[in-house]
Assembly symmetry: C2
Homo-oligomer: 238 residues x 2
């Protein structure tokens, strides 16, 4: 199955702006669209040679690194429109990427990447932006984990997911989390029990309602207020 970029709902986020027709066609020829990954399957694993960059088309993924002790750490979640793969840029991947649900990605093979960057200025620019976004996202997470109490981490996480949904044109107040509480806990550097307790508390406070992984934000304003220190721009993962 192949879905061309010009009918893709994500093209605004995914593609650089201002391409002319020739450039667009060139780009499209170098992208493998609509690759499917089932829930739990790996996009790539630690140690694999860099094969290219992936854009999430639908579904979601988590990036995981592991320390020698064997315990894993989730370093980011990836939602539609977002680019995955820089951790292996030009060498070997140091993280594994796993589908959280049945998902689709488009792939720009690494070999074509240089070609595209050299020939289409705006692609090169777009890639640079993505890299900078990546760095910013990492930094935001670091700030969150290094110096924020657990409650604020959870709030920022929810706010961030909400923001990213909004950015893609979906509801900012009603959505479904694709990751487990355990995943969230791991990502935010705390125990799953702590997540559970804090979510319950947010519910008691009438700020967010939870029905398992379904989230309904009742007071977005209050949520934003309590997540001070994180602005929309410096999203956990842009």
């Amino acid at each position: 199955m192949s879905l061309s970029c010009d009918v893709c709902a994500l093209s605004d986020i995914c593609l650089p702006a201002g391409l002319n027709e020739a450039e667009f066609s060139l780009l499209e020829k170098n992208v493998v669209t609509g690759q499917k990954y089932t829930k739990g399957s790996q996009l790539y694993a630690v140690g694999e040679t860099f094969g290219g960059l992936y854009a999430v088309k639908s579904g979601s993924f988590k990036s995981v690194v592991s320390s020698k002790d064997g315990d894993a750490q989730i370093v980011s979640f990836h939602m539609p429109g977002e680019l995955i793969g820089f951790d292996g840029y030009d060498s070997t991947h140091t993280s594994s990427v796993i589908a959280l649900e049945n998902s689709m990605v488009c792939k720009v093979p690494g070999s074509h990447l240089d070609f595209l960057c050299s020939n289409i200025k705006s692609v090169s620019k777009h890639i640079h932006s993505m890299i900078a976004n990546d760095v910013r996202a990492h930094n935001s997470v670091l700030v969150l984990i290094a110096q924020r109490p657990a409650e604020e981490r959870v709030i920022c996480f929810l706010k961030n997911i909400s923001d990213r949904n909004k950015k893609r044109g979906f509801s900012a107040i009603d959505f479904t989390l694709s990751m487990t509480r355990g995943d969230i806990a791991n990502f935010l550097g705390m125990a799953p029990e702590t997540i559970s307790r804090l979510l319950s508390q947010l519910q008691d406070d009438q700020i967010v309602e939870f029905d398992r992984r379904n989230v309904h934000i009742m007071d977005l304003e209050e949520l934003a207020l309590r997540s001070c220190g994180q602005d929309e721009g410096s999203a956990i993962r842009a």
Copy 2:
């Protein structure tokens, strides 16, 4: 003052390998060498337009991001041979970089960067590696802070500094820290008092000796052992 790259002790780390003479000369023409920064001065600040990438020639720097609440978070330390600036790649810097001591850097202006990447394949490749290293370094820090107890963080930090010194041809067991205890604490996500206590403990355990910022590692093997989960490759900042 201008110091050419071919006499620079860091050229192995700093430059891509296998350049021919023409390429080398081209590269050198596009680098501004030997810019001085005094202790406490800024290489660039949050909000500044991307001006290029910097290679640390001597001295050291810290990268700082700040949350809305105003409190700062150190996201990385930079030592000689390391590249700074990707957080603003092609747009605006989101961190500030501050000299921890009197330092020198070489600068590759952003405008020349595209030119160099397009014309010297190995430069492009080198940059890609640097980006991937950056991502890896960020991930390592995240693992450390998200799921390691304070003692291990400090040990990993010391081990990391030691490794980086070794990589540059300096002593792995005798060195001077250029940052304050407060800086280390901030970077590792804990209170300065905790750092102080843990360092004292390491000294009591006969593993490391401290004379203010002078460090002498007495038992490197034990240090490595206790910093399990972090290998040399996945350095905090490569």
